[in-house]
Symmetry: C2
Subunit: 253 residues, 2 copies
Amino acid sequence: MITVSIIGFGNVAQHLAAAFYESPEISLLQLFSRNSNPSSILPFEVEIIHNFEELKKADLYIIATSDGAISEISEKLSFENQLVAHTSGSVSMNDLSGKNRKAVFYPLQTFSKNKKLDFKNVPICLECESETDYHLLEKIAKSISHKVFPITSEQRKSLHVSAVFVNNFTNHLYHIADQICSEQNVSFEILKPLILETADKILTLSPKDAQTGPAKRNDLDTIHSHLEFLGSGNRHNIYQLLTHSIIEDGKKL
Amino acid sequence: MITVSIIGFGNVAQHLAAAFYESPEISLLQLFSRNSNPSSILPFEVEIIHNFEELKKADLYIIATSDGAISEISEKLSFENQLVAHTSGSVSMNDLSGKNRKAVFYPLQTFSKNKKLDFKNVPICLECESETDYHLLEKIAKSISHKVFPITSEQRKSLHVSAVFVNNFTNHLYHIADQICSEQNVSFEILKPLILETADKILTLSPKDAQTGPAKRNDLDTIHSHLEFLGSGNRHNIYQLLTHSIIEDGKKL
């Protein structure tokens, strides 16, 4: 049985731990929580520790903490030459301490506290220093997900930036729409089927082919009327810049 | 049986026609196509006409054409005092000719040529001049959708602008991510589960509560590193403006 321990107690750590707990190929050994009185009650049983010295020998240690803490924690580990991975999209593999074998185990998904996810569909991006370690990492990743990819640090950076566009920025556009609707006493519910279909469409069409709307049609009357409706401020500037970008892209075809 | 005829032969017209065809409460009388040799082959049987004079008496005529053609077509209709609706998000109800009873029948969804949609989940926004007409319109809309709303022209405008944000602009963000990935030889497939989950999340969380990422955390190191990665141009400017907008929103809390 392959043994895994997780350092961290946030959303990613808890979702990963739950996935490993359910995997018949993995034994989840320990979960490290900085806080000796963690508020979350885990829906599964695992030993929770609060001192790095208590970490038992495991085939893989996963540091699933905030980006800023990764390097320091990797230095604090009291053992050597073990396989230690972090889960960050933006931290370089080489930020890990050189005293252990470095790796990255980056699950590319947005994790919420109270929303269960099917980990089988979460893409896991792997990176490490040797082929032997890659085989082990891959085996561990495939035990919880159908979607496992070897990804270099540079590629991971492009994925992380892309994730900011398709998750953080997209969600902010939803937020702007929510605000516009509420100002006119219109229920945001009306937009939800459109939001779901917009995402669903790219499963069968490339985003380029799925593009529609006034900017794509270069429908200046509608664009001007929308800009007037939005007044000044961030929303107006966002509408203008994204419209400009869609129109420019159209010219490149 | 309530009778409906549709003027137009584009995506919206064809999806609407298919939905009415399947509704047991509606008799779809005629479909008007400007083009006497339309390229689409409809997956159901209906009389297709090419002259307005051939339009038979119906309880509702729906003009489902491009925005620019609505007013002119409504003028060309040879009958009077009938119920005539358009399907546009941005055209005012009063752009319809006054010789018939004006209405709006706006299905808020993105329609693709080759992708079947469950019309039951498409929100339909209704507007008309009298209560009697509203009852009829509502009955017709409810025969094809579970989601029917009375919406004023001003509210419809806010919905249309919002739809541009959550559909057109969101899709453009997907496109930018697709480009970034392909430049680094990373498969866009890796981002699809994140895209779907981002949309799915707002079914249970408000967009405000669902917001995560470097801008939300005011993580300036990551933001600067991403901006540097993006170089100059539209992508850089979009990243900067949306980040700025998320940070400003955070300050308002």
